[in-house]
Amino acid sequence: MSRFVINRLWQGVIVVLSVVVVVFILTRLIGDPVRVMLPLEATAEQRAAFEAQLGLDRPIFEQFLTYVRDVAVLDFGESLWQRRPVLEIIIERAPATLVLTFAAIALAVTLAVPLGVIAALRPEGIVDRIVVVISLLGLSIPQFWLGLLFIVLFSLTLGWLPTSGAGGLDHLVLPALTLALPAMTRLVMVVRSTMIDELNAQYVKVLRAKGMLPWRVIGVHALRNSAVPILTIAGWELIRIVSGYTVVVETVFAWPGLGLTAIQAIERQDLILLQAIVFVTAIMVVVLNLLLDIVYKAIDPRIEMSAK
């Protein structure tokens, strides 16, 4: 187990290091940060001063070392847009994104499992067909459009929920639902297909033959045996949401998290803030991946996840 964890940790370190290198190459070698961040009418002196301030006038190798050293202590510099340390902004905005993410994944799982199980009870029955059609629609509707439809329906027409921004629990409902739906539709299909396979297994027939109550056969035995594939996909969905799918939903609902901040940073040409958000997200993805792998291993000891 400890060897497995160390192996995974090592892989995570490689991922973070490569993100550092890729971001460095992107922002310093391919792009010209001075051109991107300063207005067009800036004078040559202003450009030179700005270059010196960012350390862009030094040799590229030295720049890279300084860069790595700063990133290692989470010193991302000062935001051009807000004129304060980037880390401060991230610490301020990250909780909103985390709350939204976990609300969405919790919603997706709690909706998907019962729906998938009910659909699997009678494959090709009426409920099953409805579930399949809904999930196909859920996969096809663009998320940002769904969010706008929700605003029109629940906020403007019915007046039940606020249109945007953050605040009480009522502000969380629509963004979380919008973020959860595509994840839920994919999850429903997995729950459905694994449950259909499990319910056709021999042990289910034995349990039914010996007179066990149906809810116990389905809810305790079959569902427990489908837990690993369901959790795997739920984990993927969680990673998918964290690795950037909050951006769209946060923009639609003006939810003040990291995703909205990233878009605002792009609008204000604040590369320093944007690249810091990319790092922090990379670290979150790596940590989540590691935790999920450990959870799988704990649930199902058969899983062999040695690093080849």
Binding site: L26, G31, L137, P142, W145, V278, K308
Partner: protein, 317 residues
């Protein structure tokens, strides 16, 4: 490695089970006609392709032509709608229907181009990785594993912010984000086929590596790659729409459905049609592609075919 086993089993079984005649060109067609949702998807996609190709001839107006006097006109069936603008006009007086027709070009083109670029690169990497094995394989899989763990969308935002958004950048960024799935699929199939008799025979006959890869291994990949490519196509149409919605995709004066939704968003309460029609167009396109993908998945996978056959047989009894 259960994937490899099932793949090789499927391949060695293929000559015994007579599925080969249904897999001929005519067989596919008959199979598609038997599958109503798949057929509907194919008809819808054909319709969309027709629109995309002939958009300049079909559109009643120039999609970028502004007419401030005729701004925010409702669709024909509402009070104040006119025959000149069947689906109404936007805040600059541009014809919604014409923009819709032209928008199909961007969606489908970006989809095709990205699948082509990401697919070719991914398949090449997968072929090399699976066939060469050893250290090459280790390096390529390590690279893929690392990139899969990247926060893809945010990195895409960074690239778009640095290079500047345009249709080409969108294609490149989406392809960079998506090639790994093709490589993984190709590699797993190639690993399964690597030890089979026909590949060994080709090697013994002295075929060059390139010939083995392209003439002997690639045809066996056609069916799974087609399914994956179709699924990815649907995903990319959605991704392009999302990027354009965020203002990081196709730039005005070009038209894109995602861009139109973003522009219509501010007038959502006064002019619902500005947001509704482009959104419906995206959903319609993605749904059509998804229907084809799910038909392809069942029809090209021997295991799924067998399940379907068993169900029909069971029902008949």
């Amino acid at each position: 490695m259960s994937i490899v086993e099932s793949d090789s089993a499927a391949v060695t079984d293929a000559p015994i089970v007579p599925i080969s005649d249904t897999q001929a060109a005519g067989g596919y067609w008959a199979d598609l006609r038997a599958d109503t949702p798949g057929l509907m998807g194919a008809i819808c996609l054909g319709f969309l392709l027709f629109i995309a190709v002939f958009a300049p001839f079909l559109a009643p107006h120039d999609p970028a032509a502004q007419n401030i006097i005729a701004r925010l006109q409702p669709p024909i069936w509402m009070d104040g709608g006119t025959w000149t603008h069947l689906l109404g006009t936007d805040h600059l007086g541009r014809d919604v229907l014409s923009r819709l027709l032209h928008g199909s070009r961007i969606s489908l083109f970006v989809g095709f181009a990205t699948v082509l670029v990401a697919g070719s690169f991914g398949v090449l990497m997968g072929l090399i990785s699976g066939y060469a094995g050893g250290r090459t394989d280790q390096w390529i899989t390590g690279f893929i594993d690392t990139q899969v763990a990247f926060p893809g969308l945010l990195l895409a935002l960074l690239i778009l912010a640095v290079i500047g958004p345009s249709m080409t950048t969108v294609i490149v960024v989406l392809a960079l984000n998506g090639w790994m799935v093709y490589a993984r699929l190709t590699r797993s199939v190639v690993l399964g086929l690597r030890q089979t008799a026909f590949v060994e025979a080709a090697e013994l006959l002295g075929c060059r590596t390139g010939r083995i890869l392209i003439r002997h291994l690639l045809p066996n990949l056609a069916a799974p790659l087609l399914t994956l490519g179709t699924l990815e196509f649907a995903r990319i149409v959605l991704a392009e729409a999302a990027l354009s919605f965020l203002g990081l995709g196709v730039q005005p004066p070009a038209t894109s459905w995602g861009l139109d939704v973003a522009q219509g968003k501010d007038y959502m309460f006064r002019a619902w049609w500005l947001v509704t029609f482009p959104g419906l167009a995206i959903a319609f396109t993605v749904l059509a592609i998804n229907l084809i993908a799910s038909w392809l998945r069942v029809t090209t996978d021997p295991v799924e075919r067998e399940k379907r056959f068993a169900r029909r047989f069971g029902a008949a009894k």
